[in-house]
């Protein structure tokens, strides 16, 4: 992970990434940094920016793939002020580390992205909501925000315009649910971070009841290049018709060279593993992977060549999520893997609604029994029922937790039944 991507593909987000240090404001400006915001302030209306981002087909990179331009457009023209934009840097999805790499590579790219986002939402206040474990990145951001302010890119009357914008860096209290947009707003207001139920949507009634646009770090970082080079250029970066732009793929698990790679949207999974990650680890055979963090279904061998973009995965009932690929091989017990994921979800549930608070520990317990030789055949329909009912939870957390379990029950049911029949985990050496 320490080296830059060795690839012929265009590097947009990592354009200024250095091997040994963080890109400074001068590095950023040398490559055209802050030109976009200058042009925007001079010649674009907020609506123009929204349209351009909409045309570029930039989809939210935090996992939900909501069109970024559309989100901006949902802030009504006559919506009240002050308005807020929030950069969601609470990267806690298991296996995901792209935002961290990005923050350490080129902080001014994010600052300019937030400027553009704020301008188009007519917001004067930006907040970076950052995971507390990213203390380094938080300090880097605070330092670089001050530098940008000194350089006149933040503050009052930016670059001689009537646009004012400032950025605060807010450290999260440190729970997974704080990454959920509405829970994050409650956290910022000093309340318990239980999600809110839209409507009203945050762009209408967000922080302290005011319009608030929340975007992921990577989404915001895509904005300056789009503004500089145009929507069509951005779309053309992708390898598939439906995709747009480049994507940071984080790969971990049973591969030779785990890391975070900037590749065109829609690159095939096989290419990511075999070329960019240096192939499967010695003696490992691809069994399955999580394509985009813990809240996605397992992707099996039959999809090894699938183009990794939102639409292609959706077509086969999968989700690209955060594009954090976790690779498992023939020695990995999928019951054990799923139990491990459930342990995470059970720990991180906010405890608001019954399905999530009680259902996930229920699943965890059953999987633990199966994994430890206490499984019974009746557990399989019980798990299926849990899975189905998790979908009626309050927010998207429980359905996310259900995804890997659905994968286990659909694609690895034999493995589950082997555990139950043999009364032990077949992957563990017997004692």
């Amino acid at each position: 992970m320490a080296e830059t991507t060795d690839t012929a593909y265009p590097q947009v987000l990592f354009a200024n990434r250095k091997l040994d240090r963080i890109a400074a404001i001068d590095d950023y400006r040398k490559n055209g940094g802050y030109e976009a915001i200058e042009t925007v302030l001079k010649t674009f209306s907020p609506k123009d920016v929204q349209k351009l981002i909409q045309d570029s087909n930039l989809l939210g990179r935090g996992g939900a793939a909501f069109p970024a331009g559309m989100k901006l457009q949902t802030v009504a023209d006559d919506a009240p002020f002050p308005r807020y934009i929030v950069c969601n840097a609470d990267e806690m999805e298991p296996g995901t580390f792209k935002d961290r790499v990005l923050l350490h590579a080129d902080p001014h790219l994010l600052i300019e992205g937030m400027l553009i986002d704020a301008y188009s939402a007519r917001a004067e206040k930006g907040i970076v909501f950052i995971r507390p474990e990213y203390e380094n990145a938080a300090r880097i951001l605070e330092r670089e925000v001050a530098i940008a302010e000194k350089a006149g890119f933040l503050g009052k009357n930016i670059l001689g315009s009537d646009f004012n914008f400032s950025i605060d860096v807010h450290r999260s209290g440190g729970r997974y649910i704080c990454g959920e947009v509405t829970a994050q707003l409650n956290a910022l207001e000093g309340k318990r971070p239980n999600p809110r139920k839209p409507p009203p949507y945050p762009t209408e009634f967000g922080l302290w009841g005011k319009p608030t646009v929340t975007q992921n770090v990577e989404t915001l970082c895509c904005m300056p290049p789009i503004l500089r080079n145009g929507a069509q250029w951005f779309k053309d970066l992708a390898l598939t018709e439906t995709g747009a732009g480049t994507k940071l793929y984080g790969i971990s698990g049973r591969v030779k060279k785990p890391g975070c790679f900037e590749l065109p949207m829609g690159v095939r999974l096989s290419e990511i593993i075999d070329e960019h990650a240096g192939g499967m680890a010695e003696g490992s055979e691809f069994k399955a992977c999580l394509p985009g963090g813990a809240s996605t279904r397992y992707l099996t061998r039959e999809h090894y060549d699938i183009p990794m973009d939102f639409e292609s995965l959706k077509a086969v009932g999968m989700r690209l999520g955060t594009a954090a690929i976790m690779v498992f091989d023939q020695s990995d017990c999928m019951v054990g893997v799923t139990h491990n994921l459930m342990e995470f979800f059970a720990r991180e549930s906010c405890g608001w609604c019954t399905p999530c608070r009680e259902g996930i520990p229920y699943i965890k317990d059953i999987l633990w029994r199966i994994e430890n030789g206490l499984g019974e055949e009746r557990f399989v329909p019980m798990l299926e029922r849990e899975c189905r009912h998790l979908w009626n939870a309050y927010c998207a957390f429980a359905p996310g937790a259900a995804a890997p379990l659905e994968g286990l029950l659909n694609d690895f049911q034999d493995e589950v039944l082997d555990h139950i029949r043999e009364k032990k985990c077949p992957f563990k050496a017997s004692v």
Binding site: R175, I177, R192, K197, A346, R347, E348, S349, C350, G351, W352, C353, T354, P355, R357, E358, G359, P361, Y362, D365, R369, M382, R385, H389, N392, A393, Y394
Partner: protein, 828 residues
């Protein structure tokens, strides 16, 4: 008005109705745990799932979270929805301890009901049960966290609805815990509602633990006697004792909740000291024999001194029947009185009652809809506790709440406070009235009004006059302003000025309302039926002069009248005959020559008029009598094989008075409703007992034009330079007469102290915690002081504790010279 189909039946409901409520209107009770009409919908428990088969929203939905919309086709019996709801119950029961046999909630537990009705019986989950540690939450509420199903009702009630923060939710996921940061007594005086609102047994009623199941109790509706609001309660009695009380829903008054004073004020009914047998000169006699003797002795006094040698006294806790009978007997016999309200605030209450017009009346619930509220000379939390949450709901809806009062006001929400000294209250009101008169043409009001308004001072010299002037603009620009006015310690012109202001605002446009806070549960009735001529003070003077020789006192403790105890004792000693009718043990019952025990409002029906002018009926909850615990000789279970009820040889006070008035107890029953109509024109159209509506009836208060804008202007004279005003004020716990006898509330009653402004304290050379002696007519009172910056200068405030009344100055408002106040330690 959306029209939708629920379970194949069509219904039209008002815009914004939730599907769960729409179904309830049709008699379909969709299960719910987290949903509560007072707390709103939050979608946490997921047990109200229904299937939306067609319409704008489809699929499994939580019926509390979706508004009824046109074209919706909802099924509550759909297999998928039912399966999910059953599963929610299974989830909720995973960790529930199944301790129903020892749980006080058992038998009226929502979780128990829904678990049984949902058919969940077998726990398939094999994991261990999650357990929690319980906390000590004080004397009222018992905490058992293992029973919790995490519906969040308690914290939503405690923090959002009533605005207290010491109980909250901690931790996440399956470790979610509701409690305090540290164990300790709950700070909210509304904490008992946690017991009612919890759908299972996490919060149970501590004083009544293990005293019976719901079906063991005689459960009846009643009206609370512990302040003037008249909140609705449900009484549970067992073995001839009142065991517990719960809040009872009232659309117009208290909504779903009550205060802890109302909930736990009842033990006076069960006390061993309660008079249960009649006594003549200290000797027990039968009830009727005592009445006969009393009648004969009264006749003999009347024969010697004439009927004016006898006076009758009641109180604001007497039912309307008793008050009416006191008046009827006094009128018939030519006795003096009745003096029905002996509280020092009686004159203020009379002004208030005379000024409350039908078009100004607002109910407690209507206060929640006000958008600008001015509270004058009242302390809601301490004088009428449930007024505080009502004000908070108004605040939550965006209202501005302002308190103009010398005391250190404390309310569980954000409000503005003008700490104006008692002498300046009239000037503060004058600012608002003058501003109002400035803006509106006075011509409509007539000459009297103009003169009256011009007579008020401009008030410019009081602190923050500009702030008050600005407050007027908010009042004027509001849609629904309400003036809340206290009577307990208010200077005499304030209740009238509050009415003037409300009337002027009404003329100016906004739909202004007026809400008086009164001391007793039937202060209003007392004011209507009292003979206006003698005050209680006048009676005492007449006794001292020997003009009155006999006193008939019904359900009233004369030692709460604000008259100095020594003077009162001397006066009592001069009486030839003191006949006391009461159900509590008090200095007055102890001083009686003839004591006639009477039934409480739990044992005999009574009518009460609350502060808003609403007549309510409190039916009898049980038949009374000595608690079986005391007559059963220690039997377990208690048995009493006898035909009568021991300790019940008594009747309602009004029946006793009827006999004293000379009526033969055996004669035909009287028509009380008709008699009340004869007693006061406002009471002519009271419904019969059997037809009394649940929320009572508002009295028709005619617009009393004569009284308008005729508030007497009292001259306070020159302010004394070196004087301080001492206020003896009500506290939530410990002041009100009946609840101060409650053993349950003892622990919550604070020890007495003196509030003083730090600058006044500095001038007097006093510092925090100093023991300070105050010399007054009552002698010297020594109490520690409490420096309180949020109060008026020039004022000392002592929260009154009824059980220590003899140690405190009796008058509610006294002017003291600064020399009367000194550090007590100097004496020692």
């Amino acid at each position: 008005m959306p029209k939708l189909i629920i379970d194949e039946r069509e219904i039209t409901v008002p815009e914004g109705t939730k599907v769960i409520d729409a179904a309830e209107r049709m008699g379909i009770m969709i299960p719910r745990f987290c949903y509560h009409p007072a707390l709103g919908a939050v979608g946490a428990c997921r047990v109200c799932a229904v299937n939306c088969l067609d319409g704008p929203i489809k699929g499994i939905q939580m019926s509390c979270m979706i508004d009824a919309q046109d074209g919706m086709k909802v099924s509550t019996t759909d297999a998928e929805a039912v399966d999910f709801r059953k599963h929610v119950i299974e989830w909720l029961m995973l960790h529930h301890p199944h301790d129903c046999p020892v749980c006080d909630e058992g038998g009226h537990c929502l979780l128990q009901d829904l678990t049984v009705s949902g058919g969940h019986g077998v726990r398939r989950f094999q994991g261990p049960k999650r357990t929690h540690t319980d906390q000590h939450l004080g004397p009222l509420v018992r905490h058992e966290m293992n029973r919790c199903i995490q519906c969040y009702r308690c914290v939503r009630y405690y923090q959002e609805f009533t605005g207290y923060e010491d109980l909250g939710v901690m931790q996440i996921g399956s470790r979610v815990y509701y409690g305090r940061y540290r164990p300790g007594t709950l700070e909210s005086p509304f904490s008992g509602n946690l017991i009612d609102i919890c759908p299972t047994g996490v919060y149970t009623d501590k004083p009544s633990r293990y005293r019976g199941r719901r079906w063991d109790f005689e459960r009846r509706p009643a009206v609370c006697l512990h302040c003037a609001l008249g909140c609705h309660v449900t009484v549970s009695a067992r073995y001839r004792e009142v065991v517990r009380q719960e809040a009872r829903f009232s659309e117009s008054i208290n909504g779903h909740f009550i205060c802890d004073r109302g909930r736990y004020g009842f033990p006076y009914v069960n006390l061993p000291q309660r008079p249960r047998s009649a006594r003549v000169d200290g000797t027990e006699t039968g009830w009727e024999a005592a009445l006969k003797t009393a009648g004969e002795r009264l006749e003999s006094v009347a024969w010697k001194t004439g009927p004016q040698g006898i006076a009758v006294v009641g109180s604001a806790r007497c039912g309307l029947e008793t008050q009416g009978m006191l008046k009827r007997v006094a009128d018939a016999k030519g006795w003096q009185g009745p003096v029905l309200d002996i509280d020092p605030a009686a004159a203020n209450v009379r002004t208030a009652v005379s000024r409350l017009d039908s078009d100004l009346q607002v109910s407690l619930r209507e206060i929640e809809t006000a958008d600008c509220i001015v509270v004058v000379s009242a302390d809601p939390l301490n004088e009428a506790p449930m007024l505080a949450p009502a004000l908070r709901q108004a605040r939550r809806n965006g209202a501005r709440v302002t308190v103009i009062d010398p005391r250190p006001a404390s309310l569980p929400f954000q409000f503005d406070h003008f700490p104006v000294a008692p002498d300046d209250l009239a000037a503060a009101m004058a600012i608002l009235i003058r501003k109002c008169a400035e803006k509106e043409p006075l011509s409509e009001l007539g000459k009297t009004a103009v003169r009256s308004i011009e007579a008020v001072s401009d008030g410019a010299d009081i602190p923050d006059a500009d702030g008050l002037a600005a407050l007027y603009d908010d009042l004027h620009n509001s849609r629904r302003p309400v003036i809340v006015c206290g009577t307990h310690t208010a200077p005499p012109e304030i209740p009238g000025m509050a009415a003037d202001l409300a009337l002027l605002l009404r003329i100016a446009g906004p739909r202004a309302g007026l809400f008086y806070v009164m001391p007793g549960p039937n202060s209003f009735g007392a004011a209507l039926l009292s003979d206006p001529a003698p005050s209680f003070g006048d009676l005492v003077s007449a006794i001292e002069k020997g003009e009155i020789k006999a006193l008939v006192v019904a359900e009233s403790d004369l030692f709460g009248s604000g008259i100095d105890w020594d003077r009162l004792r001397n006066a009592m000693n001069k009486l030839e005959l003191l006949v006391t009718l009461d159900y509590i043990d008090s200095p007055t019952t102890r001083a009686a020559h003839i004591l006639i025990p009477t039934l409480t409002s739990y044992e005999t029906p009574s009518l009460l008029i609350n502060n808003e002018g609403r007549v309510q009926q409190s039916p009898a909850a049980f038949r009374g009598g000595d608690p079986i615990a005391r007559t059963g000789g220690g039997d377990h279970p208690p048995r009493a094989f006898r035909r009568d009820i021991p300790g019940r040889e008594m009747g309602a006070a009004w029946t006793a008075l009827l006999t004293l008035g000379g009526r033969d107890p055996g004669s035909a029953p009287v028509n009380l409703t008709a008699w009340l109509g004869e007693a006061h024109p406002a009471l002519t159209s009271l419904p019969e007992a059997s037809d009394f509506p649940p929320d009572g009836v508002r009295l028709p208060l005619a617009e009393n034009a004569v009284e308008r804008f005729q508030t007497d202007r009292f001259s306070h004279g020159e302010k004394e330079e070196d004087a301080l005003t001492l206020l003896v004020v009500d506290r939530t716990f410990g002041t009100e007469e009946l609840s101060s006898l409650s053993s349950i509330l003892k622990e919550l009653t604070p020890s007495p102290f003196i509030h003083i402004h730090p600058e006044d304290a500095a001038e007097l050379g006093l510092s925090e915690g100093d023991a300070v002696g105050i010399d007054s007519e009552a002698g010297t009172t020594v109490l520690p002081i409490n420096l309180t910056p949020e109060m008026a200068r020039g004022v000392l405030v002592i929260p009154r504790r009824r059980d220590l009344d003899d140690r405190l100055p009796q008058e509610r408002r006294t002017v003291l010279s600064k020399t009367a106040i000194r550090k007590a330690t100097e004496d020692a």
